[in-house]
């Protein structure tokens, strides 16, 4: 059984490779994004030494690493799930002795691995050559980072699955998916690190799952969180991962009950 799930990862990886133009344009898009944010932040800093507790060097590294994390955790599971629900092909998948949501997770993972290895690794090398990115030398911190972006992937995919499953209950969840996408980019720390938000907003954001997606792994990687704080960040991620299983399970159960396959 496990080997079937591994195969779903492999096949998604191969499928991504099959569309070459997508691949090349992806690298360019990531390089442009990192560059654009780098120059924007440089302009904002001006002559200032630190902003929001970040030095220019830390900020540069933070940008590079948060895009690297994003390459891995980002996927379109919400859109895939909602399309499959709306065109009814979810029905076919239900006739297989395999968990639909697990298959989706695996496909997302295959996609993430592909982006990480083939978009981000070359993208990072280019970024390091052009911009003053300083990578940590401590192997423990690297290890911690990879564990944390694994959880970023899980939490982000869980949110995507929740958004996608809404297609069972509403006729069109396009707006919801857009909302989710903006929320994640804005509130997870890709566009703006958490420390730049005003105090009252931070207090709210501390209780939301978004910061666990980008901000926490980025902070550990750049060394802004270390020692006990870093372990704490990992714990926060784990708690969110565990907590999000509950609504997914409830929603899936409710969906099975009222599953209405289009074109019946």
């Amino acid at each position: 059984m496990a080997s079937a799930y591994l195969d779903f990862i492999r096949i998604r990886f191969l499928m991504m490779l099959a569309y070459r133009v997508n691949y090349y344009s992806g690298i360019v898009i990531y390089a442009i994004n990192i560059g654009a944010y780098y120059f924007m932040w440089k302009a904002i800093y001006g002559s200032a030494e630190t902003l929001g507790g970040f030095t220019v060097a830390q900020m540069t590294t933070y940008i590079a690493v948060s895009w690297m994390a994003r390459a891995f955790y980002f996927n379109n599971l919400d859109r895939e799930i909602s399309n499959e629900i709306r065109d009814g092909s979810v029905a076919v998948q239900m006739t297989r002795p395999i968990s639909y949501l697990m298959v989706k997770m695996m496909q997302g993972f295959g996609e993430g691995l592909f982006r990480l290895l083939l978009f981000m690794a070359p993208g990072m090398i280019v970024a390091i050559l052009i911009f003053p990115v300083s990578l940590p030398t401590d192997p423990l911190r690297w290890a911690m980072f990879f564990v944390m972006i694994w959880f970023s992937f899980l939490i982000n995919s869980q949110l995507n699955i929740l958004t996608g499953l809404f297609a069972f209950f509403v006729e069109n969840n396009e707006g919801l998916m857009r909302l989710k996408r903006v929320l994640i980019d804005l509130l997870s720390g890709v566009i703006l690190p958490m420390t730049f938000f005003p105090g009252w907003a931070r207090a709210i954001l501390d209780w939301l799952p978004f910061q666990a997606i980008t901000y926490l792994p980025g902070s550990v990687f750049t060394g802004r969180l270390s020692g006990g704080d870093a372990w704490n960040a990992l714990l926060v991620q784990f708690v969110w991962f565990a907590a999000l299983i509950v609504p997914i399970w409830l929603m899936w159960r409710a969906a099975r009950k009222r599953l209405f396959v289009q074109g019946g």
Partner: protein, 341 residues
């Protein structure tokens, strides 16, 4: 043992109602109204192992909904169902190992990868032993002549090729029940025939129980010993195909072509006393309708034995298409008595 046992099965859907006009749309924004639609209304039937059963009905009669409940996709609103000894929606993952499903209008193969890759993936999904898989695949590839298609991606296959691959995909794990939802839709006559032959062989050699929905009654004539007919969510006929023809077949028609023009009254006189109806096609051709109770030969002997010279005789049997159209048109009243059990 019964392959499928369905008892008082019912499925209701909630459908959103869209109110009219701007005001209605604004009201909909805050409070939606729903209507309940009952797609399947308390149906019961049993299918023993090894049977090929046709499941027919007009669009929207509830065929696909039934199939989806039988395959564990939909949860029934009420009623009991047992397929292969399982309650499909409860023990879904265990249950689906023993069944194969083909939806004519949806592919279960992965669009972008080679057909063989899909098969290999399915082997792992169903945990089929490598040796069993090879043997089974070889057998299926040979009977369905897929040899050179295996490495092509699904999106480059024609519909006929795809459908044959779908059948292989549904059968790799040797299911004991096969559900087919319009398997021949959109196929040309050659492929249709091939698929029918294949299904017959499958049933004969492996004893696979087959339940198929179709709009093509030739599928039914070629394959099924039994037909279940559905109308508006209710079973209006369940029984043999021959019985169906006998019960609803309105008799036969015989067409005579005479060498000389003959008036209708003259031919009617030939069969006086018999409950038949003559119609005139043209100057020299007349048709007689003979009810089922009457022997065709009685009528024939009277006409042939007369002085009128006959150049040609044709006998028409009412075909299934006409019978079914007639049943759909008249609906259930006279059908109710025909429901078995």
């Amino acid at each position: 043992m019964l392959a499928i046992d369905v008892h008082q099965l019912r499925k209701q859907f909630k459908v959103q109602k869209n109110r009219e006009g701007l005001k209605g749309a604004l009201l909909d924004l805050f409070k939606r109204e729903h209507t309940e639609v009952t797609a399947v209304k308390d149906i019961s039937f049993q299918i023993p192992q090894g049977e090929i059963c046709g499941y027919i009905g007009e669009n929207g009669a509830g065929k696909s909904t039934t199939i989806k409940m039988l395959t564990g996709i939909l949860v029934p609103t009420s009623g009991r169902l047992l397929v292969n000894g399982y309650v499909p929606y409860k023990e879904r993952e265990q249950f689906v190992r023993g069944i194969g499903v083909v939806f004519g209008q949806r592919s279960q193969l992965w669009w972008d990868i080679g057909v063989i890759e899909s098969f290999r993936l399915l082997r792992k999904v169903y945990r089929v032993d490598e040796a069993d898989f090879k043997r089974r695949l070889d057998e299926l590839v040979e009977t369905l002549q897929l040899g050179d298609l295996l490495n092509r991606p699904v999106r480059k296959l024609s519909l006929g090729q795809r459908m044959r691959c779908e059948l292989v995909a549904a059968l790799l794990h040797q299911p004991s029940i096969l559900f087919l939802d319009e398997p021949t839709i959109g196929l040309d006559i050659v492929v249709k025939t091939e698929i029918r032959e294949f299904l017959k062989k499958l049933n004969r050699e492996h004893g696979t129980t087959i339940l198929l929905t179709t709009h093509d009654l030739q599928d039914i004539e070629a394959l099924c010993s039994r037909v279940i007919m559905l109308d508006d969510g209710r079973i209006i006929y369940d029984g043999g195909l021959e019985e169906l023809k006998e019960r609803w077949g309105k008799g036969r028609e015989v067409q005579f072509q005479f060498t000389d023009p003959i008036p209708l009254a003259a031919v009617s006189a030939l069969t006086s006393g018999l409950d038949v109806r003559w119609t005139k096609e043209n100057e020299v051709t007349a048709k007689v309708w003979i009810p089922r109770e009457l022997n065709v030969s009685d009528v024939l002997s009277r006409v042939v034995g007369s002085s009128a010279e006959i150049s040609d005789i044709k006998i028409f049997e009412t075909n299934t298409d006409e019978i079914v159209r007639e049943i759909y048109r008249t609906g259930s009243p006279e059908a109710k008595e025909a429901v078995r059990g």
